[in-house]
């Protein structure tokens, strides 16, 4: 058995276990962390397929950013797991149907009859072949316009997300750092010139006598 095969089985077993725990773990934070573990092992599997760019992008984007924010939100929520489980038996038929549909679709794709996966030529790549470079070459030459359109759509989505959540509250006491930094001494304090105050001589004690 090749070392790569051992790695493949380790990654696959851990992925399946972690994915199962994502849906069976009682604590949502644990479930989110199991999802992170599943992503990690998927990245390992992709790495075995020599798709190092996709594998590292998966870790960078999903593990490093998306799941951190996801975890951040899940930790803030006080999820009552018993109440969520109440409708389990009612929703089971529909859920099972959708699940079966997805399994069927994946089976059609993976059997490869329609996509010709089975007849793909074996990969004999030169030692200096860079997956990242090839991906970039295709993305920025052959598919330059679709890529640009996709990035513009993403940009619109970013701005829309910001605009939808941006609301200026009237009662907020937020400070503006740029105003604070730009402040000068003369804005805060005024020096006025005035005549010196001279203390009057105390009234003479003899006067009263």
């Amino acid at each position: 058995m090749e070392f790569k095969t051992i790695l493949f089985y380790i990654f696959s077993v851990v992925t399946v276990f972690a994915a199962l725990r994502v849906i069976t773990a009682r604590n949502p934070v644990h479930a989110a962390l199991f999802l992170v573990l599943a992503f990690f092992n998927m990245a390992g599997l992709w790495m075995l397929l020599q798709a190092e760019f996709l594998a590292l992008a998966l870790i960078m984007v999903y593990v490093g950013a998306v799941m951190v924010l996801f975890l951040f939100v899940v930790m803030m929520l006080d999820i009552n797991i018993e109440r969520i489980r109440q409708g389990f038996w009612n929703n089971l038929p529909l859920g099972a149907l959708v699940g079966l549909l997805m399994v069927g679709e994946m089976a059609v794709v993976l059997s490869g009859r329609y996509f010709g996966l089975a007849s793909l030529p074996p990969q004999n790549l030169p030692a200096n072949y860079s997956n990242t470079k090839e991906l970039a070459r295709v993305l920025y030459t052959d598919y330059a316009y679709p890529f640009e359109i996709a990035s513009v759509i993403l940009l619109v989505a970013i701005i829309a997300a910001v605009m939808l959540t941006l609301r200026r509250r009237k009662d907020t006491k937020a400070m503006h750092p740029s105003d604070q930094i730009a402040v000068k001494a003369k804005d805060r304090m005024r020096i006025v010139k005035m005549a010196p105050e001279v203390e009057l001589p105390a009234p003479s004690a003899k006067q009263g006598e």
Partner: protein, 357 residues
């Protein structure tokens, strides 16, 4: 070197060798990992000592000087003390995640060293996508802090975890964008090639290699990268994650003994990692600054030491940033600056004035 070890082992083990052969790559890699990590952990121990000494001198104190000659055994004593302390578990804590927190903090800090080249050929994995690997692994480091903060089931650790999540994600963005200019001018994601790309240039031709390194043509990015590196490791003046005057020690409040020591190790290993990455990306790695001196690991070590000194220096110099100002610096100053500079470098590379050919 592997070519020398394998026949020797084959002779030694004889008929047992076929049993060992499938796992041999694993054993060999583990040996190399030990070779990288043991000096690293030793430097972590002495970095803590050096930090206390330097900050002491900057504040006109002596610093630790009781244990051993010149206090040199202080980090060993500290380590022993932490080792023998009891690890306390708060009753309301999530035990499993409480243990997992420090592990998830230290694992990425050590794993990232796999692709760092110390000298030509001195690298565990000379992979093509080294920069991507570094970005991916360093983005995982935040989990240790978040998990520890949540699992402690206590207020201050949770505040620390929330601050860490926001701060580390923000500064990863500017760090990654800053690195894009480096990738553009070196035309590679491989760290060894990024270093060798810096050995060519106008000044390198005159024997003044230090002006051909990336720091000069990419000076704004060098600044952004270094400052983001300080923020990414949660060091002063960006240490609001564990700011002792506000939230005691942030995510580390409930930890004691070796569990606490793991966070400490991770922080210092990350500092050394950032200094190694800065030397490779901007300061020419193992390249000699002047033509008449030989290249080698000593230059890499000297550059890393200089950047580490910078880390300690600013810790002793600057007051802590306010939290909203950290966010403002990251998103409103660094991100626009890096985006503009990517455009500037792109135009520069395409113009006839280009210095990268």
């Amino acid at each position: 070197m592997e070519a020398m070890v394998v026949p020797f082992l084959e002779g030694l083990l004889g008929s047992l060798w076929p049993l060992v052969k499938p796992v041999w790559p694993l054993i060999w890699t583990l040996l190399k990992i030990v070779l990288i990590l043991s000096p690293l952990l030793l430097s972590v121990a002495y970095l803590t000592f050096w930090e206390r000494k330097i900050i002491g001198w900057m504040q006109v104190r002596i610093g630790p000087n009781r244990v051993g000659p010149w206090g040199l055994l202080q980090p060993i004593a500290d380590g022993l003390k932490l080792f023998f302390k009891e690890v306390l578990f708060p009753t309301a804590a999530d035990k499993k995640l409480f243990v997992l927190g420090p592990v998830m903090a230290i694992a990425p800090a050590l794993a990232a060293w796999a692709v760092i080249p110390f000298s030509p050929g001195w690298v565990l994995a000379n992979v093509d996508a080294g920069v991507l690997y570094l970005l991916a692994i360093s983005s995982v480091g935040v989990y240790g802090i978040i998990v520890a903060g949540w699992a402690s089931n206590s207020k201050y650790p949770f505040f620390g975890a929330m601050r860490a999540a926001a701060q580390m994600i923000s500064y990863e963005v500017s760090m990654g964008l800053g690195l894009i200019t480096v990738l553009m001018v070196s035309n590679s994601l491989n760290l060894t090639e990024i270093v060798s790309a810096q050995s060519k240039g106008l000044f390198a031709g005159y024997g003044l290699g230090l002006f051909s390194w990336n720091w000069l043509p990419l000076l704004p990015m060098f600044g952004v990268y270094l400052i983001s590196g300080v923020a990414e490791t949660n060091r002063a003046p960006f240490d609001v994650v564990e700011g002792e005057s506000e939230i005691v020690a942030g995510h580390m409040v409930e930890y004691s003994g070796m569990a606490f020591a793991m966070f400490f190790l991770a922080e210092y290993a990350n500092m050394i990692l950032i200094s190694a990455m800065t030397s490779v990306f901007f300061l020419g790695g193992w390249l000699s600054p002047v033509g008449f001196l030989p290249n080698g690991f000593h230059w890499m070590a000297a550059k890393m030491a200089a950047i580490l000194f910078f880390f300690l220096w600013i810790r002793a110099t600057f007051p802590r940033y306010r939290y909203d100002q950290i966010m403002r610096l990251g998103w409103k100053v660094f991100v626009p600056l890096t985006l503009v500079w990517i455009l500037v470098v792109g135009v520069w590379m395409m113009s006839p004035l280009t210095i990268w050919k």
